[in-house]
């Protein structure tokens, strides 16, 4: 146990310091190559560098490789390979705009290493009622989870600091849940995700110096999804992600098809004269989490972010309660 604690501290520090140290250089390099996008929520025209995915992936790989040296396992290999593949999918999308269906399909393919390495247990565990063995169905579930988690995190990356801050809360909640259900090795492997997100938040929070881009958001989402599979906490992980799930659900149920955010014709959020965010009154605009938060009146970008973080904390609490319920049988 002491070994695990020391390694846990070491990989957490490596994950945090790698992203904290690399990101400023990445920002400079991206700015030099004019890889910038407009931040539409700023009163003064502001260009922000993108994508931050490379520093996020560097932090994850550096820490997971150290963990693998001390505790080699197929689960850690699956985490590293699937996360890297998801990064490549996102990076391709960052460089060249790809079709709406390309990302889900490519992310589904990213999940294949989990199956090929056999880093899964085909049981789906439910709170209070036990688990069900679904050998064939579980393969489909693996291929389903990675694109869904990746795109769910990508879809909540709408305001400064939201995706990284949200992932920080969800990831640490997942680590706590994994400890509660006694999956200590995967709990250890999940630590870098929280620390990488936290370090990236430093540069992503209002006012953002860098955006994660698709490469960053898909990397975070795919790693979260892989952890949920190899840690056998699929339901718990989904609960911790409920605010982001709601955002995707609201969006899909209002546009009724899979499209990219950039394809939306009517913006769900507009600006007031003092450049606060305000819910659009355009009936053709999609319903999103941010639009609902703003339904009672305008807020600043930072205030909306904090409402989303409070929702994330609430879901994290529900996920932790669910973990305790896994130990109870009716």
């Amino acid at each position: 146990m002491l070994d695990r604690t020391i390694i846990g501290i070491l990989i957490s520090a490596v994950a945090f310091v790698t992203v904290y140290a690399i990101t400023p250089s990445l920002i400079k390099a991206l700015a030099k190559r004019k890889m910038v996008v407009k931040d539409y929520n700023k009163e003064v025209a502001t260009m922000v560098t993108r994508p931050g995915g490379p520093s996020i992936l560097a932090g994850i790989l550096a820490s997971e490789l150290i963990l693998y040296v001390f505790f080699p396992s197929t689960e850690i290999l699956a985490i590293m390979i699937t996360t890297s593949l998801a990064f490549l999918v996102g990076f391709a999308d960052d460089r060249k705009v790809l079709g709406g269906w390309f990302k889900p399909l490519a992310l589904a393919a990213s999940a294949l290493p989990i199956i090929l390495l056999g880093a899964y247990n085909p049981h789906l565990a439910f709170p209070l009622f036990g688990s069900v063995k679904i050998p064939e169905l579980y393969l489909g579930l693996i291929v389903f989870i990675i694109p869904v988690m990746g795109n769910t995190i990508n879809s909540i990356d709408v305001l400064n600091g939201v995706a990284s801050g949200f992932m920080t809360i969800a990831s640490f909640a997942l680590t706590v849940c994994l400890v509660i259900v006694h999956h200590y090795d995967i709990a250890l492997a999940s630590l870098p995700l929280g620390f990488v997100s936290l370090a990236f938040y430093k540069y992503h929070k209002v006012p953002s110096k860098i955006f994660p881009g698709d490469s960053g958001a898909l990397t975070l989402g795919a790693m979260y999804g892989t952890l949920s599979i190899v840690g056998h906490v699929e339901i718990i992980a989904a609960i911790a992600l409920l605010p982001a799930v709601i955002n995707s659900f609201l969006f899909l149920s209002s546009v009724k098809r899979i499209i990219e955010h950039r394809q939306i014709k009517a913006n769900p959020v507009v600006h007031t004269e003092d450049f606060k965010l305000m819910a659009s009154t355009d009936k053709s605009a999609p319903v999103t989490l941010v639009r609902l938060i703003l339904a009672n009146g305008p807020l600043t970008e930072k205030q909306v972010g904090f409402v989303i973080f409070r929702l994330a904390l609430f879901s994290a609490a529900l996920a932790i309660i669910t973990s305790f319920m896994m130990e109870i049988r009716i």
């Binding site: 609902l292 009672n296 929702l311 529900l318």
Partner: protein, 77 residues
């Protein structure tokens, strides 16, 4: 507090997930289809997958109804 209906919506979603477990584990998981020889496992899985799919669709419909009910005011605005 800002976003109170969303907190409520998350809570309802959580309850529905728990309720889903109550249906899937004690009832659907115990369904056993036999009499097709070597195809038993495949047909058993397909039937369970079909039931799971129907449950997911019902879950989405319920969430959609609850969404309209909870957020009716906001959406109509």
């Amino acid at each position: 507090m800002r976003g109170t209906p969303i907190f409520f919506y998350i809570f309802v979603m959580w309850l529905l997930i728990i309720a889903g477990g109550a249906l899937i584990v004690p009832i659907i998981a115990h369904i056993s289809i036999q009499g097709f020889g070597k195809l038993d496992t495949l047909i058993d899985s397909l039937v369970k997958a079909a039931i799971a799919l129907v449950l997911v669709i019902i879950w989405i419909l319920i969430m959609s109804k609850i969404k309209n009910w909870i957020f009716h005011k906001q959406i109509s605005h």
